[in-house]
């Protein structure tokens, strides 16, 4: 049934979506608005790109600078991101995107920090020295996506059994074709 719907007319789809989204007003809260202003003025991380996605501000940084960027965002005044909420890895088939959802308790603002990793040789610096809670998230990312978090120190398998081959999180890993019995 799902397959049929995939081929439904594109126009029809667009119409309903426009009905649902009458206005594309920015939904940033005031604390995020001031963060956006601060980011634009101070530009704490060189070569970074600031964008906005729904109610979140997205800061994309180059792969090499993730650790410095994280440290700066945690320590500099005005940002003080002391809490890592979530670390996710997304497989875009040409590259990996590593997404950090961070939160500042002091200023009550949130930020999505993003960086990319090469597909064939995914190496990235670990953020565990900055946010300890990244520990298991990075282990999971290493196990399911094969990303090498440099400086983590303990990238043992977490969810899968020892000796498991392959990276089941990746898009290239088949999952609907397999049969158990």
């Amino acid at each position: 049934m799902a397959e049929q719907n995939e081929n439904s007319p594109e126009q029809n789809l667009k119409q309903t979506q426009e009905e649902l989204n009458p206005s594309k007003v920015s939904k940033l809260r005031s604390s995020e608005k001031s963060l956006l202003r601060l980011l634009e003025n101070e530009n704490p991380v060189p070569n970074s790109v600031i964008s906005q996605s729904l109610d979140e501000i997205v800061l994309s940084v180059p792969t090499e600078e993730i650790q410095e960027a994280a440290l700066k965002l945690r320590q500099s005044e005005g940002f003080a991101f002391d809490y890592l909420r979530c670390l996710s890895v997304v497989d875009y088939e040409e590259y990996f995107e590593i997404v950090y959802h961070i939160w500042s308790r002091l200023y009550r603002h949130k930020l999505t920090l993003k960086t990319t990793a090469d597909y064939n040789d995914p190496i990235i610096k670990s953020v565990t020295p900055i946010w300890k809670s990244a520990d298991w998230f990075e282990r999971e990312g290493h196990e399911l996506f094969g990303i090498d978090f440099k400086g983590h120190g303990n990238l043992k398998p977490l969810l899968l059994w020892e000796g498991f081959e392959g990276y089941p999180g990746r898009k290239s890993y088949p999952f609907h074709e397999y049969s158990e019995w």
């Binding site: 799902a2 719907n5 995939e6 789809l13 309903t16 979506q17 009905e19 649902l20 989204n21 996605s53 729904l54 109610d55 979140e56 002391d82 809490y83 890592l84 909420r85 979530c86 996710s88 890895v89 997304v90 497989d91 997404v99 959802h101 308790r105 009550r108 949130k110 999505t112 946010w131 300890k132 809670s133 520990d135 298991w136 398998p157 977490l158 969810l159 899968l160 059994w161 089941p168 999180g169 890993y173 999952f175 609907h176």
Partner: protein, 374 residues
Amino acid sequence: MSNESTKNIESVDIMVNMGPQHPSTHGVFRMVLWVDGERVVELEPHIGYLHRGSEKISEGEIYPQVVTLFDRLDYLSNLNNEMAFCLAVEKLMEIEVPKRADYVRMILCELNRISSHMLFYGTMGLDAGAMTPIMYGFRERERIQKFFQSVTGARMMHNYIQIGGLREEPPKSFQGQLKEMLPQLSKAIEECDQLLTLNEVFLLRSKDIGIINGSDALELGLTGPCLRASGIVEDIRFTEPYSLYNEIDFNLPVGVTGDTWDRYAIRIAEMRESIKIIEQALELLPDIGETKAPGVRLIPRPPKGESYARVENPRGDLGVYIVSDGKDKPYRVKIRAPSFANLQALRKMSVGSYVADVVMILGSLDIVLGEVDR
């Protein structure tokens, strides 16, 4: 004994394996302890025995089907889980949920919080060696579960909260049943409180055990009641109110020392607050109105983009990160499970305490392995 003979004795740490089949681990959780006599020197948690790959399975299912997978993550607070996923999709599609549906959602979520905490109350008693609390806890949980069955049609896997609202109109007896149940529940909470909270044996087993201070708790990513027990004021219902929590007046119980007893007492206090929330929501709940946002298709296709939604689950901050490529199936779903993050702090809490106390500490974290392993 002469001095020379004691000099040659070397103490060796013994490795003890606990789990995965162990009654106190609340599921299939294994930890390896290194003990020096009765003291824990080192602890290593091993998880993954219940790993089903929910995130990967989600990539192959259409959006309404993913909701059913979320039921099975934290199987003690199913409605809160459904809520998190639906909020993330609604945010992406910019759907506004009708007020009536939102109030019903909130009532159900808070009831689910009480039912989850009631089970925690029972198992916490069991961990301390008391058999009675679980009887009281289960009696109340069963009451709520029966109510859920009359509303959603299922005791546990509800699939009731859907993208854009509710699956169907709640039954006509919804308000009546609730009004009858709430006084019974608040009476039962007081009963439970009197039974265990200040019990001398329980106090001895839980006071000053597994202490974690506020900065460590934040650093290790603790959330929910476990974080608040350490004196940190942090609750998504306050900091980033979702649903209609900003219209409701309720307090946030916060602990002082961050020990096992605090983590227990916070949950008892939280149940009282949940009753308050439900009472207010019931007052505000409109009698008639839509329960599903108009224009939401059976198989929704969110536009390209990504969204991150959080809810305050009974265990803490449940985050759902969705990446959509415009198709009817999500491109990527990442679940930030509160129990998963809370479990990271177990080592810090347990090292230095007795083996018997590790059971209490783990119990006070209130993990659900379905959510830890996903």
